[in-house]
Symmetry: C2
Subunit: 322 residues, 2 copies
Amino acid sequence: MAKKDKIVGIDFGATFVKLALISLDGIILKKDSFKTGDFASRDSLIAEMVRRARCLVDKKDDVLGIGIGVPGQVDYKKGVIFNLTNVKGWRGVNLREILKKKMGLPVYLDNDGNAVALGEMEWGAAKGYRNIVAVTLGSGVGGGLILNGEIYRGGNYAAGEIGHICIDRRRPICNCGSNGCLEAFVGNKAIAREAVRRLNKHKGSILLRLAEGKTSKITPKLISQAASKKDNLSIAIWQDIGRTIGIGLSSIINILNPDIIVIGGGISKTGSLLFKAIKASVKGHALEVSVKRLKIVRARFVEDAGVVGAAALVVKEKGCNS
Amino acid sequence: MAKKDKIVGIDFGATFVKLALISLDGIILKKDSFKTGDFASRDSLIAEMVRRARCLVDKKDDVLGIGIGVPGQVDYKKGVIFNLTNVKGWRGVNLREILKKKMGLPVYLDNDGNAVALGEMEWGAAKGYRNIVAVTLGSGVGGGLILNGEIYRGGNYAAGEIGHICIDRRRPICNCGSNGCLEAFVGNKAIAREAVRRLNKHKGSILLRLAEGKTSKITPKLISQAASKKDNLSIAIWQDIGRTIGIGLSSIINILNPDIIVIGGGISKTGSLLFKAIKASVKGHALEVSVKRLKIVRARFVEDAGVVGAAALVVKEKGCNS
């Protein structure tokens, strides 16, 4: 019998579809990606997904299964997508059955936030913990919850919307229609906007120079670069963003009393400047009893979090990593 | 063999200790209570608890067990109290073992918020649901979580602190040391304070008359009475309080996607005026996908929630009501 020691992980994102061949230890052996928007129809996108997945696999017999994380609400048991947040035309699609038929392999489908949380539990920074909050800081603020050692999905498969914790009942308006959501303060665009707003009072900041004089080119990545060069404005921004993230996390901590919070996504790469501010804020805002033993750590997986998490779905269901 | 069809439920509150003999259907057969503060030492309080519990029981053989809910963090498995929020001198006490020895019956101990949630699931408004948020609105704002059909306690037995969700990062200071906590807006005292503040601009309100001209006598109960008599000020207060509660609940809804939220405690008796405002606020603030099938209902148990919940701990552990 073949050893079945590889997994295909697919991260179906609104911008890119990423694919990887991954070992049972969570090591990426090969990877690939393509733009989601390049395919007009659902069928042509699926065909490309399958074509690329087949290219990754040398021998099908070696593959334990395919895991796929999608950006939206899914019935993971049936493999049906209810709806995708930023990709049109996927309501009610049983992507699991379609891929299973085309690939001839077991397929496991889940929400991408859930997959990321599981990846960190299986192979990453949350290994060995049972109550895990995984947070992804990027364009949006996403998340996944592992409670009592299992993915927690909620009554309607919609749990873990960490970006939509309200931290200010007054303002600002959020994309979701509510106001004062965490994401409206610390999503990529909000951070860049805040930097531009403060530039007027900080003419000496190197940030504008790094952005070649164009405020439109200011991104969190650039603000991190400037901060690493000791730019006061940029350092202050990350301290304030960290403080704000900490306020949102404190609500989760007081509700869920997790063992560990794993923070990933592009913004997590800002590193200790941001993490120090988050931790100080949590200490000031969350209940002492829940903070005492809490760990707040950087995710192990950032760019690859989606594919690794998708692969973890297979390991979890197959029970082969325990 | 005796039928063992009764349970003793004990609600160990910071103000009162309530006890009841309860049937396996959650019906209160007899009850009793005494003031917690009347007993200077822990031992004398326990002795009184035991004496009153014995008085409730006609035949010990009929009793399945004793359930007790306590206002603080407990290791429910061991029966040890880590600490009580508003009662001094209970750190590290194994109340379960003490009661077991003195009563000669099985004893189950848990946090009171957890017990209340369980009571509503076993016999109350949340019967048949698997993902339940129980909220108690009173002096403080407490809660309990049932996730995937089980009490969710968190890594450190401190989950469910719903009152300490931050809804306004700026103000006001909360007893917990943080700021903008839900409890700081909608706890009993905060509601009364808000009414007093608004009275200046609403000289025609009957509220002050109901309070015999003394602002110190204004309570949520009185504001409810005034509202039921169509007092505009009091109606507006409940609408605003409902809106604020809805903002806090929306964060929980977006994180946990529960099937049902059960709201109890004295303030819940305000009724439909409050509940309409809560529901409208939740609809405006929480994600549509999580609100669509969500139920928000009044708790079945209010004054008796603690003793009934404590009794449910026994039923749950003994598995005799399924």
